[in-house]
């Protein structure tokens, strides 16, 4: 290790630029203390990270639960005038990605998807059915929740608020049954 070369003051005097630099260095230095600022900035960052909602927004569909004792029996012979429309939902195919909707109402025979069902039902509103028409959705045991909800939403969107979700596998209605 070699010792640093001794400073030659005579050189500074002869160089005007270096002389100015030496004079400036002699003045009291104004330096900003960055540490507290960084502290506060980090705190602000944590604060904003915490209040940000990273979870995707969630919506909810209100489902009015049938009252205890008020079992809308689809086969009750005394309720013929307001017999509910039964809609079966089944998921099939690879991983249950496809689904089919069948109904006991012949008007809806052509509707096999939730969207078609919704459109057909909307056309029937105030024509053949009132908005007090009851619906019973009868999903199969393996019916996907997604498909069940799509049908539920389609019926409600068509303007019929009275919908009941039947226990799984309760409906005798099956694909292939003549409506």
């Amino acid at each position: 290790m070699s010792a640093p070369a001794p400073r030659d003051d005579r050189v500074i005097e002869h160089d005007p630029r270096r002389r100015a630099h030496a004079q400036r260095a002699a003045l009291p230095v104004l330096n900003l203390n960055l540490t507290p600022m960084i502290d506060v900035v980090f705190l602000l960052m944590i604060y904003f990270l915490l209040i940000t909602q990273f979870q995707p927004r969630e919506e909810a569909q209100a489902y009015e639960l049938p009252k205890e004792g008020d079992r809308a029996e689809p086969t009750d012979p005394f309720e013929l005038p307001v017999q509910p429309v039964r809609i079966a939902v089944e998921s099939f195919g690879d991983g249950g990605q496809a689904y089919r909707v069948t109904s006991d109402l012949s008007l809806l025979a052509g509707a096999t998807s939730a969207r078609a069902l919704g459109e057909a039902l909307r056309a029937e509103l105030d024509a053949t059915m009132g908005d007090d028409q009851r619906f019973v959705i009868e999903p199969a045991r393996e019916a996907r929740w997604e498909h069940t909800l799509a049908v539920f939403n389609a019926v409600r969107g068509a303007g019929y608020p009275s919908i009941r979700l039947a226990p799984p596998g309760e409906g005798a209605l099956r694909i292939g049954d003549t409506p």
């Binding site: 919506e59 209100a62 489902y63 969207r115 019916a143 939403n153």
Partner: protein
């Protein structure tokens, strides 16, 4: 130097930085506590419904039933979760779930009930939760969906 200090009145300067630091730390502390005490949600792929007739899920006083997907389930006794409690699918567990729901309804009659289930969940696994809600005396259950993404 010493004489000069005696002549001039002492300047009182409040250093605000540590105070701001502490205040922010307190805010973060309370935010974290609020976050932890909030009901835990299970990570789910919620059903996405086209043209949903849905509203914003009520936020004030809510009980959430999560239908735990089989891939995340810790065993047979972990099919439904309410807060940090797990319930199975057998009759006795569903009875406990009903009791738990009824108790929260009695404690706070304004409680709204949310049902979260994965979109691939079979109806067979979702329905017992609806049944329990009905047995507990809830008039309405909110079926949680994901709003359709604008494409």
């Amino acid at each position: 130097m010493g004489r000069r200090h005696q002549r001039e009145p002492a300047q009182v300067r409040a250093n605000l930085t540590p105070m701001i630091d502490v205040v922010f730390l307190l805010i973060i502390f309370f935010l974290l506590v609020a976050q932890i005490s909030r009901t835990r949600r299970v990570e789910l792929d919620l059903p996405e419904i086209r043209e949903a007739q849905a509203g914003e899920a009520s936020r004030d006083q809510q009980v959430i039933i999560n239908v735990v997907p089989l891939s995340q389930s810790l065993g047979a006794g972990d099919s439904y979760r309410v807060g940090l409690r797990s319930f199975g699918r057998d009759g006795a567990s569903l009875e406990r779930l009903t009791t738990e729901l009824r108790r929260s309804l009695e404690r706070q009659p304004e409680t709204s009930l949310l049902l979260r289930a994965d979109r691939t969940e079979s109806y067979e696994r979702v329905h017992p939760a609806i049944k329990a809600a009905r047995a507990a005396g809830f008039e309405q259950v909110e079926l949680v969906t994901r709003p359709e993404e604008a494409s």
